[in-house]
Symmetry: D2
Subunit: 187 residues, 4 copies
């Protein structure tokens, strides 16, 4: 019997009709059975401030407690101003502290960037990867996922209707499952 | 009679004894008389969410109103996880929206990264610069300012006691004044 | 009478039918009259080696002598392996040395990245910009130029037939002329 | 009996007394017995030009033939103009082509950046990592290795005399051996 892995999915956009959230839901739908994926919400979190480390806001503790037990993390993110959205970077910063108690340490990471433009969030995708190095998160290299023109991929109900992209996301998730298994072999 | 320019200073760390805030205060102290610098606070700002564009939180409007009228912006930032702190990136994101109403457009930018480590915030410094390209902020190239070992530069009152660094920051601000003047000539 | 500026154009691909060379030729064709543009060849240059600084290969000297007198530099580059082609980076390295005698110092820079793919050379474009900071080259921010699907833009004679892109490149060159003039005012 | 792995070491500087070459030799000296490391020379290689794919220069073929059979690659590089030296990037470009025949595909990578300055080659280190993503090279995250002030680490014979750095490099190589083993398990 094969192993299963718990994966936290972080979505870098807060708006209700977010193309990134829809893409995250598609990724969850097409993932192989070995991955149990759940979106961990990052909206409404207090801004990181080291002075609060000793008396952390409840939202920080709640977020850390959700991420700490998972086996790996999948980031689905738009690009804001050619980099990672502040809201997502703040969640990463909160999870990385206090010093020595990062919830990210050693967890394999995958990243999918999603954008209505042609470039597909390349800038956000690679800025995230630079953080993964420091956070000690082994990051899957291939396939890269820059999902451009994302406003053309879904129907009104939010279901991905573009078969080529859907198939690609399935391939991506199979590769990610293999990546997680290599780094988190449990047996 | 020479012109004067109003400069917003953004500090990327929220903690009270922040080395970045102390460096910002030093930069203000050593700046040439042509620059009128003021720190614009970024703590306590709501996370950017496009759904709120029509009914923006009061803190967004207050921040935008402080940045919009200035001539240029000076960023003083630590590096969090090899990139820009979420709190600073969120302020940038808030200022850049709604689409077409960015407060950053055309404003010359300078960046000083500050860190207790040796690398001096290089990762945050250059990730910020990538955003400046999109935001249409002409960014001063030289001198670059990576202030490392910053925990060794101040006395207990927060005054910079390292003469070499203080002199360098003076040179930096003279270059920045010239950079602002080139791009914002008023006469 | 308005001033004119001499601009070196560097093309980051050596192949004869290079989409980048064709784009460079288009940029030259649509440039305003104030810019005198000339491609400076970078093929066949010896690899940079500091041991040769005192007895520099003739090709290094020839390259430096062509770039030194110009007013500004326009880079037109593909992306190789998500970064700047080695051949172009080598030319930049050669021009930057010996220490203290860089031919790039103070010259305004523009960058156009060109690719048959959708992402339009974003990675090369921004890696180049990181070098510009060190080289003290004020780099134009907007408009950014990521020319994707470039294999669809030209006819068999190498003439750009896509009117939208051609018009955009004209706008780009007008902005670049203004950028050069700001930084190199001669009067 | 434990497995052994063959590792190609690429040195990003060509000068004879290169601090990077000395560091590479130190890394080889302190490596665990499971790693068989050999420097693959990149000097004197022809600049990559796609037009030559069909009639590749002998130096390209020789380089590719040395890298293709190894299990993993260790990059030791200086920073030139805040990025990867052209000479090293050219070697990477040559190894990545012709399309579909990359010698890098699937090989685990490690990177050590070395500089006489304080910043320790951070810019080159992370630009290399961006290429690894495209090249499908799983890159070790931690420990990061930014070796600054490298001109102070060696005696006149080129032996590393700084015990702290030497010990750190030993730790780095043990982690790299584990990283290679995870991705290249042979049994």
């Amino acid at each position: 019997m094969s192993e299963t892995y718990n994966i936290a999915v972080l979505v870098g956009s807060l708006r209700k009709e977010s193309l990134n959230r829809k893409t995250a839901q598609t990724l969850i739908a097409v993932a192989p059975a070995s991955l149990k994926l759940e979106i961990v919400e990052i909206g409404g979190m207090s801004l990181y401030n080291q002075d609060l480390d000793a008396t952390a806001p409840a939202d920080w503790a709640a977020f850390r407690n959700k991420v700490r037990p998972v086996d790996a993390v999948l980031f689905v993110t738009p690009e804001y101003n050619r980099s990672v959205p502040g809201v997502l970077k703040n969640a990463i910063d909160v999870g990385s502290r206090p010093y020595g108690h990062s919830v990210w340490d050693g967890k394999p990471a995958g990243v999918v960037s999603v954008s209505p433009g042609a470039v597909g969030g390349f800038g956000a995708n690679h800025h995230l990867r630079q953080s993964f190095v420091f956070l000690n998160m082994p990051a899957m290299a291939q396939p890269e996922a820059y999902i451009g023109h994302a406003d053309k991929l879904f129907d009104e109900a939010g279901t991905m209707t573009n078969d080529g992209t859907k198939k690609f996301l399935g391939t991506f998730m199979e590769s990610f499952a293999a990546w997680v298994a290599i780094h988190k072999k449990k047996s």
